[in-house]
């Protein structure tokens, strides 16, 4: 209670000239959706405009759709614990990157939750790098390559099918 009162006191003393207008210093924004489908807070204060990304408290943007344009199921491209792309896999990737119409690509590797976090971070980055290598050879521009290990699951690791879904390399098409 004492703390709450102290905070209120601080809020009152924070009143400046900027809080004395007709809006009393209150700025209620609306949402603008960018061409990627992600939301931004936007405000028009007469002759000034303001905008900032709408993220959750973890800093993840709030998006109505994503721009993931390809998900490679790792089982079809890599042997267990390997980051080497099979010959047929390289061919498929080559075709994908040659036909995709993007400015550049972001490649992210992911694993299921078996083995250690550190091992999975390494394996997923190695796999993402292997994919990026094929992409570069096909003439694609790579904006970033990352390994997220088991930290960004797409499904529950509680079932075999869920784990298979989590073993993947995601390709984001930046247009």
């Amino acid at each position: 209670m004492v703390a709450a009162l102290a905070l209120q006191g601080a809020a009152v003393s924070a009143q400046t000239k900027s809080q004395t207008g007709r809006d009393k210093g209150q700025y209620i924004p609306t949402i603008w959706v960018d061409p990627d489908g992600c939301e931004h807070w936007v405000m028009d204060d007469g002759v000034e405009g303001y905008m900032t990304p709408h993220t959750n408290r973890q800093g993840i943007p709030v998006c109505r759709r994503g721009n993931v344009c390809g998900v490679m199921q790792s089982d079809q491209f890599f042997a267990t614990n390997s980051a080497r792309v099979s010959k047929s896999g390289q061919q498929r990737l080559n075709e994908f990157f040659k036909s995709a119409t993007a400015t550049s690509f972001i490649i992210t590797g992911h694993t299921d939750s078996r083995a250690s976090d550190a091992y999975n971070m390494r394996l997923s980055l190695n796999r993402a790098n292997s994919v990026a290598k094929v992409a570069k050879a096909s003439g694609a521009r790579i904006a970033d390559v990352r390994g997220y290990g088991e930290r960004q699951p797409a499904a529950s690791n509680g079932s075999a099918s869920g784990m298979a879904k989590n073993r993947r390399v995601e390709i984001i098409c930046v247009r």
Partner: protein, 106 residues
């Protein structure tokens, strides 16, 4: 001296017209619409891309007397650095809200 005076006058006129705009508008807490001659809800804004000196993308909008800039982020919250243009350059038609009357000079 004359040039200085003219500059000062133009500056003053700009200031006055900005103030008029400020006073004509009901500047309540709702900041979700653009008033004036290019009246619209702010969800209608159209953006281009500005590449910052590090090579990362931002959405840029020149909407007459308002300018907007906001970071382009991927689904993981990381900056998108697409390489669509060299640092400090822009891509896309982001000045659709600007007119010959209310445009860049203000």
């Amino acid at each position: 001296m004359n040039i200085l005076k003219i500059t000062a006058l133009v500056g003053l006129a700009t200031l006055v017209s900005a103030c008029e705009d400020f006073q004509l508008r009901a500047n309540g807490p709702d900041k979700s619409v653009d008033g004036g001659i290019d009246k619209k809800h702010l969800s209608q804004l159209e953006a281009g891309i500005w590449v910052d000196p590090n090579g990362c993308d931002h959405w840029i909008i020149d909407d007459g007397v308002e300018g907007y800039l906001s970071a382009r982020l991927d689904k993981y919250g990381k900056p998108v650095c697409s390489g669509v243009a060299p640092p400090t350059h822009t891509v896309g038609d982001f000045k659709k809200g600007a007119t010959s009357i209310i445009g860049d000079p203000i």
